[in-house]
């Protein structure tokens, strides 16, 4: 059996404009091209660009909206990086960071000496199937326009996104996607390839613009702001999950947590390999989305999996040695670097619940820059039968300690076992 990998989302930067009947793409391009700029994050020592993306003028004069992930280097290490814009006609100047919405991957900057008329944000999403135009600077090769189709709100996304069928490419992140009237429907943010692309809905851009003050944000204030956003976001996710009963599914004699919410996608399969004397049933679930904080720090994720392993040949000692071997290698994991997170701290013990004993290992690590946020890793093995065992793992990325405790406890409490032969 092949496990299904998570949907890979690649951040990009587009720019686009719209047309409808009577408006063709060249017109759209010509009319809005001066509202879209390339954003370059410059390394202060190398004195050249370390990252590029796109942005567009919106809100007050000189304000440029882009993705948070485009300017993350500037936000995280302001001493190392600075930002500048480069317009389609060759104008350039510095950019100052005003505000960010890390959860929805948005940032507002202020451009020096450039303030064309701003684009307007659409008040509501267009009808599904509408023609849309995405603009941006793909692969650092100049301004491009991409024509595509609006396919509604993503239904299985933890963080609301619009589905745009069109080729958004790396470098277009932060650019606008426009409807036929030139209003910004969404902000280019990511793609799954094959013309499956995603936009941040304009409503979140509007909310950020409305809450932004026209003055540069300091490093400490920025950190407090992002931390507060992440804490609030995980609180909302946790509250929703904890307010309902956890749905479960049956794996032979075990009931285990199934898809906890619509935005969690589950896949499963089974295998019975020879000459390996283990039979397996997999059930893997995860959120399709995450929040970008740094190159190796993605947060706001929930992943879990259940492996039901059984044997009719192996001696119990050999069978449990295989389980031991498997649980020593984390099946799910979150990225991280020493400068962003601490090491995991782990503890193992027996836990009894619903007349089943589990060997439980639980680990947590803390975010260095975002106080109050942790990643957790919970893995458990049922100790019921000599020839069958359930191994389940739950990974929570970017939650408070209180919510990690509650969600992890609920995860275990949702499990049960009954002898299928009785």
């Amino acid at each position: 059996m092949m496990r299904f990998p998570p949907l890979m989302l690649f951040f990009l930067c587009p720019c686009l404009q719209a047309q409808t009947e009577g408006v063709d793409t060249p017109e759209v391009y010509d009319h809005w091209r001066n509202r879209v700029v390339q954003i370059q994050v410059i390394d202060q020592q190398a004195q050249t660009k370390a990252a590029t993306g796109s942005g567009f003028f919106v809100g007050k004069p000189g304000w440029v909206l882009t993705n948070y992930h485009v300017i993350a280097g500037l936000a995280n290490q302001p001493g190392q990086y600075r930002a500048r814009y480069l317009s389609d006609n060759g104008q350039s100047g510095s950019l100052e960071l005003l505000s960010v919405d890390a959860v929805h991957d948005l940032a507002v900057l202020r451009a020096e000496n450039l303030a064309p008329s701003p684009l307007y944000l659409a008040a509501q999403a267009p009808p599904r199937g509408s023609r849309l135009y995405s603009m941006g600077y793909p692969y650092d090769i100049g301004l491009s326009i991409v024509e595509g189709t609006y396919n509604g709100m993503l239904e299985k996304s933890l963080y609301e996104k619009l589905h745009f069928t069109g080729s958004i490419n790396p470098g277009m992140s932060g650019g606008p996607t426009l409807d036929h009237s030139g209003e910004v429907v969404g902000v280019n943010v990511s793609t799954a390839g094959n013309q499956v692309s995603f936009l941040v809905p304009a409503q979140f851009a509007a909310a950020l613009i409305n809450s932004t003050r026209d003055q540069p944000v300091g490093e400490g204030e920025l950190n407090r702001s992002v931390t507060a956003q992440l804490l609030q976001n995980q609180e909302e996710i946790s509250s929703r999950l904890l307010s309902v009963d956890i749905p479960t599914t049956q794996l032979n004699g075990y009931r285990v947590p199934a898809a906890l919410a619509p935005y969690i996608s589950c896949w499963g399969d089974s295998e019975e390999d020879q000459p390996n004397e283990l039979a397996r049933v997999y059930y893997d679930c995860q959120t399709q989305d995450d929040i970008f904080l740094a190159d190796t720090l993605y947060t706001g994720v929930i992943r879990y999996q259940h492996d039901l392993l059984s044997t009719d040949q192996l001696h119990p000692l050999r069978f449990y040695r295989q389980l031991e071997e498997q649980s020593s290698y984390p099946q799910l994991h979150l990225e991280g670097e020493e400068k962003t997170v601490t090491n995991y701290r782990c503890h193992s013990d027996f836990v009894d619940h619903s007349e089943v004993t589990y060997k439980v290992s639980f680990c947590i690590r803390r975010y260095r820059e975002f106080a109050g946020l942790y990643d957790s890793y919970l893995t458990l093995t049922s100790l019921v039968r000599n020839d069958e065992a359930l191994q389940s793992t739950l990974v929570l990325g970017g939650f408070s300690w209180v919510n990690i405790k509650k969600l992890s406890a609920r995860f275990i409490e949702a499990m049960s076992w009954s002898d299928p032969g009785s």
Binding site: P275, R318, R321, S328, Y329, H333, D349, K359
Partner: protein, 330 residues
């Protein structure tokens, strides 16, 4: 005083002159009857020293007024005596007096001086003497084979096949033979006896004990739910077993005191097993984006400890949070 025949003359030995090599071991002993005895590089000396820094006639030992003396004969590089190596022209000799001439050392002992207690040869009597018996080698080999086969079977999830298991066991068996061969060689060099069967028996028993004790300890840790102790118990357990194994080898291969053999064995065990284990413990504290997990798992029937409730488990996990918070502090 001891009677001895020196050059055909029946005389009384009053002391012994020992010649030492650079590591302090005695290479030659000359009985001394108290009459004048000359030491130097020339062939007409009573004791001839092959050392270019020693004069042809360097010093003499003599008795004056009942007192035994060493006297320098105006040598180029001098004569030094005692622990502080003071230069001497003439000096009284006592039991154990060290005399340095050129780059060579002499030691004087009174014939009536005390000698160290006789060492008990535990390789020929007592527990260790069993290792020399042929049936022990047979038993030890069997123990090692069973241990290696069990280890191979536990690690392999596939159906057991003789060929697969044999190949899994081949390298450990070769390692055991090399290990025993090394000790036999050392034994041969130091005592002129190889004792290969004995060293092979020790190596085989070591392999068996390491495996079975490790299994036993793991089962106890699992049964009692003491997983957090595992790294340290494994470290000390392995070092202790290896110390005993090396000590047994040293008992046969070397002629030094038991306490020295034990210290050498412990140091070697720490270097061989302890250092890598300590390294892995340190490595666990180095940064990794993955959690370091080592949950012991055994069949349900092996468990003795009661499980925690879910709430109690996470209450205890509060300590993890405090540790993680402390990790953030510079």
């Amino acid at each position: 005083m001891t009677e001895s025949r020196v050059q055909g003359v029946h005389s009384v030995v009053v002391g012994v002159i020992e010649m030492l090599n650079r590591s302090g071991q005695v290479t030659q002993r000359e009985p001394w009857n108290g009459s004048m005895l000359r030491v130097g590089r020339a062939y007409d000396n009573d004791i001839i020293i092959n050392d270019p820094y020693v004069c042809p006639h360097h010093l003499e030992l003599l008795t004056e007024s009942g007192c035994m003396l060493v006297r320098d004969l105006g040598s180029v590089n001098g004569t030094y005596a005692g622990k502080k190596r003071k230069p001497v022209a003439t000096m009284a000799l006592q039991d154990g007096t060290m005399i340095q001439v050129g780059h060579s050392q002499l030691r004087f002992h009174l014939a009536s001086g005390e000698v160290a207690a006789t060492w008990k040869d535990t390789t020929r009597q007592g527990l260790l003497s069993w290792l020399g018996k042929p049936w022990i080698l047979l038993l030890a080999s069997l123990v090692a084979l069973v241990a290696l086969a069990a280890d191979a079977a536990l690690d392999n999830p596939e159906q057991l096949q003789l060929l697969t298991m044999s190949s899994d066991m081949l390298y450990p068996l070769i390692a055991v033979l090399i290990w025993a061969g090394f000790w036999a060689l050392l034994n041969r060099v130091l005592t002129h006896q190889a004792n290969f069967p004995v060293h092979l028996a020790i190596a085989c028993l070591g392999v068996g004990v390491l495996f079975f004790v490790a299994q036993l300890v793991s089962m106890v840790i699992f049964a009692l739910g003491l997983d957090d102790w595992l790294p340290w118990l494994r470290l000390f357990g392995r070092v202790a077993i290896l110390t005993v194994v090396i000590y047994a080898h040293l008992r046969y291969a070397t002629v030094v005191s038991m306490s020295h053999q034990f210290v050498i064995a412990a140091l070697a065990a720490v270097v061989m097993f302890g250092t890598p284990e300590i390294g892995s413990v340190i490595e666990r504290n180095e940064f990794s984006s993955l959690p370091y997990l080592e949950p012991l798992l055994r069949p349900p029937g092996y468990r003795l400890a009661r499980g925690e409730t879910v709430d109690d488990f996470f209450e205890q996990a509060q300590l993890l949070r405090e540790k993680a918070d402390r990790d953030v502090r510079p």
